[in-house]
Amino acid sequence: MAKTVDQYFDDLRDTRVWRSIFRSGAGSSTLKRSLAIQQNVFLHLFATKVRRRMLSFSATWYLGTLTLGTFLMLVVTGILLMLYYHPSVPQAYADTKDLQFVVSSGLFLRNLHRWSAHAMVFLVFAHMFKVFYRGAYRPPREFNWVIGIVLLLVTLLLSYTGYLLPWDQLAYWAITVGSNIASAVPVFGDKIHFMLLGGNLVNANALLRFYVLHCMILPLAAMFFVAIHFWRIRKDGGLYAHSSEPAVLRKNAAEVETPKEAR
């Protein structure tokens, strides 16, 4: 009898090389499927078991996952754009133009980066509204909401630092105005402004600082907090479901104890 495709995959999963990499091996028992999650460095952040209802579109509209998707697209397109972009005053604007008109697929990558950035900011807000209106920010998930606020700020700072990099008039004046808002901080305002720009003007130092923030410091901060954010979902009892609210549980239990016919 000919083997099915699944059986070929099972044979592959039982080879010594495969077993040395993925310990769980072939089979689809509950144990094997749990091990596949538990023993994977990336997946073990998540719960091994999820309510089937929570995987449906209506439960979350997949807004958090979609935000992660745009972030991953931004990382990939951003790394590719870095190969042609020099963060220096004479070259930054010319490189941006080159990316649009000279580099093969440069226009596509730059537009993908730009639209993903807009989409990410939109999705972060949509995700927050969904969480807020479902009441999923309440205990025991309140700390994960706080991490979400940090991620919102990191997202907005990524957006703001990326704004300067094309080094055109819009970028220059947007950062001039934005950094002057930082000077409004009491007592330390001017020092913060000076440290952020690396000088008194939006100039070569400011361009380089914003580049380092945009390409290194802020993405690493985002990854760090995203990891905690996902891990906390499991630690706080999985995705929020209204049916597991204590009040709802008490109400359901009361209905079981005193059915209407018995009253």
């Binding site: 004046w173 105005v177 808002i181 000076f194 440290m195 690396g198």
Partner: protein, 169 residues
């Protein structure tokens, strides 16, 4: 003596054993190191040498500015104004959020394109640089002006002076 403890009664009456001493010593030295790191980070992030344009600007011969004229130099961000009382220089950078303002000859005012601040130039009861309206919190600054040995008008953007101090040529 297995249960010997190195306890010292302090003058305030509390006990203080060796472990507590080392914990405090360790935390103390760590805090000193952390404070040092903060100072180091602040100093490292503040550049000591700046390759920014000099604050002192040579604005050329006074004869090139006719009387009652307002001249904006976009590159240096200053207005050179030749009034009847003499010359003076105003900063052209808006005191609100740092946009470059512009001279509106048809209205006789200085206006900011970003958030609509308006500044006086020769508005009778207002001093030049005073705000007429808009979000700007301060008037435009007056910069120190003088004549160089070669007879050129010089402006120091780093030094503000009190308003109504004109340079007579």
């Amino acid at each position: 003596m297995p249960d010997e403890k190195h306890e010292i009664k302090s003058e305030t009456g509390g006990t203080f054993d060796r472990r507590q001493f080392f914990v405090k010593l360790g935390l103390g030295s760590l805090s000193i190191a952390a404070a040092g790191t903060a100072v180091f980070a602040y100093q490292f992030l503040s550049p000591n040498v700046l390759y920014e344009p000099s604050p002192i600007v040579n604005a050329g011969k006074p004869e090139s500015y006719p009387i009652d004229s307002v001249t904006l130099d976009v590159n240096t961000g200053i207005y050179l104004i030749h009034a009847k009382e003499g010359f003076f220089a105003l900063g052209a950078v808006c005191t609100h959020l740092g946009c470059l303002t512009t001279w509106k000859p048809e209205l006789g005012i200085i206006a900011c394109p970003c958030h609509g601040s308006k500044f006086a130039v020769l508005q009778g009861n207002l001093k030049p640089g005073d705000k007429i309206e808009g979000p700007a919190p301060k008037p435009l600054p007056w910069y120190r002006t003088w004549l160089s040995d070669d007879g050129d008008l010089m402006v120091d953007r780093g030094t503000t002076i009190r308003p109504m101090e004109f340079l007579r040529v």
